[in-house]
């Protein structure tokens, strides 16, 4: 069965105070994933 977004979840999703901290958290987390480096996948002998 499809998950539903509950009223409490919706409150958390749209509450500016909670979301402000989420914004900071996401910015850092995304930065770590994206700017965390990249490279090849093939080993060089």
């Amino acid at each position: 069965m499809t998950q539903r977004i509950s009223k409490y979840q919706r409150f958390k999703m749209m509450n500016p105070v909670i979301q402000f901290f989420k914004f900071i958290y996401l910015s850092i987390k995304i930065m770590l994933v994206v700017a965390g480096g990249h490279g090849g996948t093939r080993k060089v002998n």
Binding site: Q3, I5, K12, P16, Q19, F23, H38, G39, T41, R42
Partner: protein
């Protein structure tokens, strides 16, 4: 002294040009060749298409910036490639044709020492009969002018709905092999929110139509992601959002013809069906530009450079889906035949799809092509620029900078509605972009901690912050290079 020519001034071309100019001494020439006069921040087209952002906010003219920064600029389109020169020109060159001004129509041999092909995709509307932006009530948000037209169409429909008209809105992919489902996903959520803001939501039936096998595939075979304290599949997440927004969906649909208010499609069962609409936004198929290439004696060598898009250091050996490997994906974006030619961003030919290919019972391929969004375009363009810089400085070929999409993370901040307090966004990060089933066999080829999704107002703020940050970076304002790709 070296001359680096960059074809295209989109995200990849502009990133490469700006980094090359910043890091190379002025004695080296950096030249951008693009038919477009403006740089545009494509991800914000979504907001232009719902009338929440003026198109002027997402583009700026290239010529003054390039003049100020010492980057050469030709407003011209590439026609054909001569990687060995010809009988009269010793140096390799690209034959280009000016598209504006007194030189319009004039062709020039633009010689180079290094060539970066960042021409991106051709928006192949012709591949779907009747799919013409602004015609047959069908629109696109692929460029800011298309997005302007889309808003004109949507705005007119909203006015009719306010007078009592019931309407059907259809958004998704306009071809069996389209990609960029993410943009359509953003647009459908934004349109749905706009309908609510205009108090006409109950007058509209909103439907998603896509060539994906499952919701949330996005041409990346979907993903298993962390969502809060849960682990869920991307199709479950998108299904949850669509259920919440009362959006219907049609999957496995290859749209092949568009008439006035009617989309014709074939599904994976091989059935031919129609879907009527009053407003549609359908993403076209992407294709290469059909460039030709010639050797010194003017023999056709197109197959050495192009396979639709440009051939790079990928493994293009045809093999069954089960044998596909993340190692097939390119690392340096260098053409194997001509080592001074590179193709980052969307210009390179992918070795294979990321999503499992599917065909209808009639044999029609109905499957998303692999997406290559802004972030990997920027990253690959920068690493190509860095390799060229190292090669010029050391005097020998250097390919130390590598970035396979199988070893690279990407963030997709999908707007789900505009508004500082009422907006929303679906923030998804994926690592790696191309699943690595050897490294992460139990989590659908991706690392769970780095592959996550979040829904909420913060996502809207993030997308807005990225809009301003990347336009600041593109304008090469002070310390622009500190903002990562």
């Amino acid at each position: 002294m070296s001359k680096i020519v960059i074809l295209g001034a989109g995200i990849a071309g502009h990133v490469a040009a700006t980094h090359l100019r910043r890091k190379l001494p002025q004695k080296h020439e950096v030249v951008v060749v693009s038919p477009n006069s403006n740089y545009q921040w494509v991800p914000s087209n979504i907001w232009v298409g719902i009338g929440r952002m003026k198109s002027e906010k997402i583009y700026f003219p290239l010529a003054p910036l390039y003049k100020k920064k010492g980057i050469g600029y030709r407003q011209a389109k590439a026609i054909s490639f001569y990687p060995e020169g010809d009988k009269t020109e010793e140096k390799p060159y690209v034959l280009s044709e000016y598209v504006v001004g007194e030189n319009k129509g004039l062709q020039e041999k633009i010689t180079y020492d290094y060539l970066i092909n960042a021409t991106g995709p051709k928006l192949n509307f012709e591949a779907t009969e009747g799919l013409i932006p602004g015609k047959n009530k069908a629109y696109s948000v692929c460029t800011y002018t298309h997005a302007d037209h889309a808003w004109e169409g949507l705005s007119a429909l909203i006015q009719e709905m306010k007078k009592g008209k019931k309407a059907k809105i259809l958004i998704g992919t306009g071809h069996a092999k389209s990609t960029c489902q993410g943009a359509a996903f953003e647009y459908i959520l934004n349109v749905e929110q706009e309908l609510r803001k205009h108090n006409v939501r109950d007058m509209a039936e909103v439907t998603w139509i896509s060539n994906e096998y499952q919701l949330g595939d996005f041409g990346m075979d979907g993903m298993l992601l962390s969502y809060g304290s849960m682990t869920m599949k991307s199709h479950e997440m998108v299904e949850m959002i669509f259920e919440d927004r009362d959006i219907k969906w049609i999957l496995g649909a290859g749209v092949y013809k568009v008439e006035d208010g009617v989309a014709h499609y074939e599904n994976l069962e091989g059935e031919y069906k129609i879907e009527t609409y009053d407003f549609a936004m359908l993403i076209p198929a992407f294709s290469g530009h059909g460039f030709k290439a010639f050797d010194k004696n003017e023999n056709d060598i197109t197959e050495k450079l192009f396979k639709g898009f440009m051939i790079v250091d990928a493994d293009y050996t045809p093999k069954p889906y089960e044998e596909w490997s993340v190692k097939d994906w390119p690392e340096t974006y260098q053409n194997p035949s001509y080592k001074n030619i590179f193709a980052p961003g969307i210009a390179f030919a992918p070795p294979h799809a990321i999503s499992k290919p599917r065909t209808s019972k009639n044999g029609t391929v109905i499957s998303p092509a692999p997406p290559r969004t802004g972030m990997p375009s920027g990253i690959t363009a920068k690493l190509v620029a860095d390799n060229i810089i190292d090669s010029i400085k050391s005097g020998k070929e250097s390919l130390n900078h590598k970035g396979s999409m199988g070893n690279m993370g990407a963030a997709c901040i999908a707007s789900a509605g505009y508004g500082m307090t009422t907006g929303s966004g679906v923030s998804i990060t994926t690592y790696p972009i191309v699943p690595d089933y050897e490294k992460y066999p139990k989590t659908q080829g991706r690392q769970l901690g780095k592959t996550f999704g979040e829904i909420g107002l913060a996502g809207h703020w993030l997308k807005l912050a990225l809009h301003y940050a990347f336009i600041y970076k593109a304008k090469m304002r002070p310390f622009w290079w500190l903002i990562p790709e």
